[in-house]
Amino acid sequence: MNEKIEVDIKVPNQTRYLGLIGKIGEDIARTLKKYQGDREELAYHLNLVLTEAMANAICHANEGDPDKEVHVSISFADRVLNIKVYDQGQGFDVNSLPNPDFQNLEEHGRGIYIIRTLMDRVTYEKHAHGNVLEMQKTLN
């Protein structure tokens, strides 16, 4: 039988809610049926990619405006996990981002690298009133 889960979340555009979104990701990881891998590792990874993507939406796109809203959708079907994080900003070119410079110590620039490393497929595209970062991973 096909396990289908959908969770759709809207919260104020504030870093205070990063923990809530991350925890929901962890809860989903711990609930999935028949996951063969290390569940606690998966829980950390989902928490992390959700936190990174949402922090980017808050800090780079919605620019900290606390009256804006962040919309995150998490769905699981046919063993594919799909996470979408919507922002209301100007957008950026995710494909032209360089990898972090591992020689020179930078404070920033590890978020998208982490997401790319942990997920199978990452896209960032225009959407109705902004953009959507979409991340997919097959979980067996």
Partner: protein, 111 residues
């Protein structure tokens, strides 16, 4: 953000008393370290025993502290990393940058 800051001789011990070190609170850790550097401190141990989750901005705050300490000929060392937190340092190759100790005492004794 819950931080315990204590002077241990010339070294300052910062214990992070939070489950998460993320974009919500990492700015505070960074600015606490900045004021320590401004007071003339240069050697810091950050104890992460209670931290279950670190994101890239938490790592960024630690990198900021490390760079500031180095610029003053000091050092910033870490201790008490839970295994998943440790994996974050490996993923971003920062385990080659920081000196990481299991316990606070070892980290303090290493200066």
């Amino acid at each position: 953000m819950m931080l315990n800051i204590e002077e241990k001789g010339a070294v300052v011990l910062i214990e992070v008393k939070e489950e998460r070190l993320d974009a919500h609170n990492s700015g505070e850790l960074k600015s606490q370290m900045l004021s320590l550097f401004e007071e003339g401190k240069k050697d810091i141990v950050v104890a992460l025993h209670e931290v279950r989750f670190v994101d890239s901005s938490g790592l960024g705050a630690l990198v900021s502290g490390f760079k500031n300490a180095s610029a003053r000929n000091g050092n910033l060392k870490l201790c008490g990393l839970q295994s998943q937190v440790k994996s974050m340092f490996e993923l971003t190759r920062l385990h080659r940058v920081f000196e990481i100790f299991p316990d606070t005492d070892e980290a303090l004794a290493s200066f």
